[in-house]
Symmetry: C3
Subunit: 276 residues, 3 copies
């Protein structure tokens, strides 16, 4: 999290060089497997406001493309994703902090909704540590494959905040309330092996063989009949889609209140002071 | 699955010899424990249309019998059950494939509903490999005891199909969506030990002692007060019974579409071609 | 359970000596951490009618106190809690057994509702064996830390009874129906390690270091911003609060029937006869 607080945008050379349409993502599609790579390695792939919008657009593009059967999300560099870029909070609009909180809530709501509504199999390829909203939305993925080097951390209350990504709904259902509370309320960081035992991670692979093993496996899955996959996913998802959107709204409303609260302000200040 | 495709009904000598009322099942009841044995060992207990109807009737008989406290389902021979007998698809009625799909959907709906509504403790005694619908309905059982020799396989998308038996609802709730997808979407076959870790199987016993250990245990359970068992099961089931029937309907509707689809046709043809 | 049947109230010296407001509980609060200790060690902390009322009052007190951030429940002596004190059934009012059952149902409903509605993080510190309702309400706690010496037992059907504490709803969701049935229907007693694997217990600690490790950890949690904790818990709880109250009502209604039934009478008599 530390690096993201400085929040100066590093020049995104890669995107310009390759002529990609996204500044913060690399997107490729081969043989039915579409890969969306979070591509701000100097910032541990922390998500800026621009990057949230690009990620949403990349998911919409994946939905619309008839050649895409399966979608994988992964990170460039050592991190999977360090979560919300805290520099997002520094760009205060005319309406002040309250307006900033409202705007951030709207953006987060759209971002999480894109995962709730995504119709094709969505797989996280967790190449390194994952933090915050990049962890919470995993409860909306269809599978999460992780290197044993990854960790998973959702430090909400430590920052005066509260859960998002529908994790207040999905985590207790995946791991039971007695285990979910440690992550959602008590800021516990877990290893990939622990996250797998909790059911959040589907399978953990050794870091040395992770990249070599996982991609051929996903390429094979991308050969399955897309309609059977999409319809099967719909059966598992449709019944609770309305509830998930409702949860997303409740969580974002609460965060709008939290972001403008003294708790959050004090926690962020304490964070900066520890940094010094 | 291979053997079932030939689909020629072996003469059911056992049933005729014993005067049993079912052609494809053996049913006995002793000391409150009723045992329903799937009895087509030459076909790995694959379920024909006739056998679906008999299984439904046997559950109704178990409900009605005041002497039945607990019901166990098991398989004769090496297999527990190899799932839907694919020969069911070969007996095409006058209305063609579309009519066949609709009829099969009606039968499947009734079959699964019989598990949703079954009021007494229902226990699977998994004596060997289990495939397809025999696995998916396990999410509706009260306990699943398995030999370590068993495997569990639900290859829906590989056959251009989609989940049934309310598994699109029960599996994500039992094991979390990240693990359920591997079974429901990606055709993963799991061992008994893995199925136990996932929560689908209650306990795994060594094959050598399986039969010797499990039956005395169930006979002991059958001595418990039947009303406490039935009322306790009702408390765990009644609240979601309506949802389960709705899920069953959604799954069957989707399968009616799938069975008449090109995906399914191509997958079955590919299966036959691999066989040659 | 055996000791509680005699049901003679031991003089509660401790309470009188310390001037505490509760006869059956010890309550303290330090640095945001409020500890409620079940304090009838000679009776293994079995819950009398008076103690149910005190426990409800102590939770209300914790809710109202602005200095309380986190609440821990633990037991004095070797046991965490041996469940409902069966001597409660012996004090038969003028209305007879039926009236007794109704009154007990009302009390149980209020007791469980206090857990459903409790707004702050609630943690069980399980210092020893736990039985019956003290186990079932754990599904409503936010975390359960247990010594490896503890066991968890909910022998409902063995006593002609049925589940309470919303366990008919929470247990199948925490551990899957195939594992929950063994506890709720088949009277299985599990170790702390097993309960942890099932997801009912958050973490197991060695008995030798349990007290020394757990309290500093909870004291640290009590330094977190209370609003973030309360709002985060609300997000995980509010959506199903109505359902939980409905389940509580269904369970209590069923127990009122069970308590006045022959099954229950016979089971209690058999229990007494085994004791002789």
């Amino acid at each position: 999290l530390v690096n993201e607080l400085a929040g100066k945008e590093a020049p995104d050379v890669t995107a310009e060089e390759t002529g990609q349409k996204y500044k913060n993502l690399l997107v490729s599609c081969e043989g039915g497997l579409r890969t969306i790579t979070l591509n701000r390695p100097p910032k541990k792939n922390a998500i800026t406001e621009e990057m949230y919008l690009e990620w949403i657009a990349a998911l919409e593009e994946a939905t619309a493309d008839p050649g895409t059967v399966i979608v994988a999300i992964t990170g460039a560099g050592d991190y999977y994703c360090s979560g919300n870029d805290l520099s997002n909070f520094m760009n205060i609009p005319e309406g002040g902090i309250q307006q900033k909180a409202v705007d951030s809530g709207v953006l987060l709501y759209k971002f999480v909704a894109a995962f709730i509504d995504f119709p094709k199999p969505l797989i996280a390829v967790v190449n390194g540590p994952a933090v915050g909203v990049s962890v919470t939305v995993m409860g909306l993925f269809d599978a999460v494959y992780s290197t044993d080097r990854a960790t998973f951390n959702t430090p909400f209350s430590a920052l005066g905040q509260s859960p998002e990504g529908c994790s207040s709904y999905t985590f207790p259902r995946i791991m039971g309330p007695g285990k979910a509370s440690e992550l959602l309320l008590f800021n516990k960081k877990v290893t990939a092996a622990q996250a797998c035992e909790l059911g959040l991670v589907t399978e953990v692979l050794p870091d040395a063989s992770f990249q070599g093993e996982i991609w051929p496996r996903l390429q094979a899955l991308a050969k399955l009949p897309v309609n059977s996959l999409v319809y099967s996913k719909a059966l598992t998802r449709d019944l609770e889609k309305e509830t998930l959107h409702k949860v997303n709204k409740m969580e974002c409303d609460r965060l709008v209140e939290r972001w403008a609260s003294d708790d959050c302000f004090k926690a962020i200040m304490a964070f900066f002071n520890r940094k010094k």
